[in-house]
């Protein structure tokens, strides 16, 4: 039997759920309500209000990605270290949030940050002024980091775990102190993992919705929220589709840019 037969169901799946929807999105983006050709919606994407939402989305996603990288890299290193591999349970604890529904996690974060939430209750108990936590950009970023951190840790962890310890010993042997071992060997060799991590965090972060609505109290509309509104509230499928396309183009461009940095050209250890 030819091996290509096996790809049949997969091809069908792709046509039904990837290619067809993309064609619909394209169709709606370039038509008006009556079904006639129009670039009206595309032009709307370039209006200042939309651009502002877009820039805010990218900014928050960027901050979120940077924080995830700063927190995630050391965490991945700890998890990948030899002494740690005995404690499988701790590894599971790091990944556990991923198994829970993200809305649930976000509601939990809400109850933590609310005006009368857990943090403020504790602060008041000790006689401090309550803080305005919810409805700030910080709260949105916090929610995003909390949700997406495992996606940064996992690929970096995989890259570090696969690294040959003898390569690290070789670097020490050649005169590299621990800092140099990290900057000259460990980090460069883990770059494919870092790039996967960045991609896996940045992409969902830039398209985030719900988190910004729940934790930002609607003060910070993001691209994802805007698309949701167009479809569900404004019933303007044309503009919604145009926005989706706009976002897709941005993501494709940013992945292309990232892959250009990757010295190994995605040959090794990356998950993408």
């Amino acid at each position: 039997m030819k091996r290509s037969y096996f790809s049949g169901p997969y091809a069908l799946w792709m046509v039904l759920f990837t290619i067809c929807p993309m064609i619909f999105v394209l169709y709606y983006a370039f038509t008006n309500g009556d079904g006639g050709f129009s670039v009206q919606s595309i032009l709307e994407c370039l209006e200042p209000t939309t651009i502002r939402v877009f820039l805010r989305s990218v900014k928050l996603a960027f901050i979120c990605t940077v924080i995830c990288l700063i927190l995630g890299y050391p965490a991945a290193q700890i998890l990948a270290s030899k002494d740690f591999s005995k404690y499988k349970l701790l590894f599971v604890l790091f990944i556990l949030p991923m198994w829970m529904n993200f809305l649930l996690r976000t509601y939990a974060t809400m109850s933590l940050l609310e005006r009368r939430g857990i943090i403020n209750t504790i602060l008041e108990r000790f006689g401090f002024e309550p803080l305005t936590l919810i409805g700030t950009e910080g709260a949105v970023v916090f929610g995003m980091v909390y949700n997406y951190l495992p996606f940064m840790i996992l690929p970096i962890h995989t890259a570090l775990k696969k690294m040959d310890t003898r390569v690290i010993e070789a670097a020490q042997d050649l005169g590299a102190n621990p800092l140099r071992v990290f900057t000259r060997v460990i980090f460069p060799l883990s770059i494919p993992g870092v790039i996967s991590g960045i991609t896996m965090v940045f992409m969902p972060a830039v398209t985030t919705f719900a988190i910004s609505r729940l934790l930002g109290s609607g003060n910070f509309m993001l691209l994802g929220d805007m698309i949701e509104t167009q479809f569900l509230e404004m019933h303007d499928w044309s503009f919604g589709s145009a926005l989706s396309m706009f976002m897709m183009v941005i993501i494709v461009l940013s992945i292309g840019l990232l892959n250009r940095i990757d010295p190994s050209k995605g040959e090794r250890s990356g998950n993408w």
Binding site: G175, R180, P263
Partner: protein
């Protein structure tokens, strides 16, 4: 040839991993410019010893001296030794040139250019370039400097690993089974090249292998190890000709090892025969190991031999025939250049000086 000064000394080193003791009270010194081979079966502790010298393991007990100074507290990057790792451990994110330049780029500028008053970036770069090029020439890899190390064959990777270590001009080069992954022909070529490099550069080599032939080919001194203990130290010839115990005899080349009884000085009984020998100083009727090399067993006519037996099997080995000859009490391994077909009766003779008497090994040995 090596100098008669001790460069590295290990004193009473013991090391355990969990419940297994891998080194037991090891004492050894290594002289300047010496080619020392640590030889033994896997798990004998030879690699651990190398890693202790390199600074990657710490002994539970004992001292490691370098040039008379204790270096146990020095991390690997401060030691004046470099290692060629098993399976090379090259940096896959760097090309051939940058792999070799790795150590040089970490050196302080004044180390790199000791005679230069005004050190500039360009001078450093030129110096690194000069040294890397010299190494590439030494290992005959000039044409490959811009290649990715992944694109090299095993033998080429090996050369780069050696160049990467040697470019730092270490006083001691540690080699951990560096030729293990190469095919036989390439391995023989590299053995000769390594030996000539060592003599040309005049540095100490400490070489770990389980291949006795490799050890005999290259070393000034062979350290035979087993079960975490040093069995014998000496040059190749003395270890081959005068093995200290049955383990060494068996590990270095083929041997017939028999249990025998020392009847008195110069007379031993084994395989149902009394042999004249050249050893003395054993207790009367002491149980001993008797070792005879297969090439030292002479095949003679069945009427004149000390022993008479039947040929059980014959294999052609290129230069000689390897035969198994059963004399009733023992089956002898015999190397001979003349063929005697299986089933034929032959006589065996051994001259007294080829019979090696050894004290019984301890049970653990």
């Amino acid at each position: 040839m090596y100098e008669n000064t001790k460069l590295i000394e290990l004193k009473n080193i013991s090391k355990s991993f969990g419940d297994t003791q891998v080194l037991k009270n090891v004492d050894i010194y290594i002289r300047r410019k010496e080619f020392v081979t640590l030889l033994g079966p896997s798990g004998c502790g030879k690699t651990t010893m190398l890693r202790i010298i390199g600074g990657f393991e710490f002994p539970d007990e004992g001292e490691v001296l370098f040039d008379g100074k204790d270096i146990q507290s020095l991390p690997p990057y401060r030691r004046r030794v470099n290692t060629v790792f098993q399976k090379y451990a090259l940096f896959t994110h760097l090309n051939v040139y940058d792999n070799i330049a790795f150590g040089l780029k970490l050196k302080k500028p004044e180390e790199l250019l000791p005679n230069e008053k005004k050190i500039t970036r360009r001078k450093i770069k030129a110096e690194i370039d000069r040294r890397v090029k010299r190494m590439l020439k030494l290992v005959k890899m000039e044409a490959y400097e811009k290649r990715s190390v992944d694109a090299l064959s095993g033998g080429q990777q090996q050369r780069i690993a050696i160049a990467r270590a040697l470019v730092n001009e270490p006083e001691v080069l540690l080699l951990d089974e560096p030729l293990g992954a190469l095919d036989l022909k390439l391995r023989k070529e590299m053995q000769v090249e390594l030996k000539s490099m060592q003599q040309q550069l005049g540095i100490t080599f400490i070489y770990v292998t389980h291949d006795q032939e490799e050890a005999l080919t290259m070393s000034d001194t062979i350290v035979v190890m087993n079960g975490g203990k040093i069995q014998q130290i000496g040059d190749g010839k003395s270890i081959y000709d005068e093995p200290k115990n049955a383990f060494v005899a068996n590990f270095i080349g083929d041997s017939n090892i028999l249990s025998g009884v020392m009847l008195k000085d110069f007379e031993v009984e084994c395989a149902g025969h009394r042999f004249e020998c050249v050893d003395e100083g054993f207790a009367e009727n002491e149980s001993v190991d008797v070792v005879v090399r297969p090439e030292d067993v002479m095949v003679v006519g069945s009427d004149v031999g000390m022993l008479v037996g039947e040929v059980e099997s014959v294999f052609f080995k290129g230069v000689h025939y390897e035969m198994k000859v059963n004399t009733g009490d023992f089956t002898w391994k015999v190397h001979s250049t003349t063929m005697h077909p299986a089933g034929s009766r032959v006589g065996l003779s051994i001259v007294p000086s080829n019979i090696h008497i050894m004290r019984r090994m301890e049970a653990e040995g």
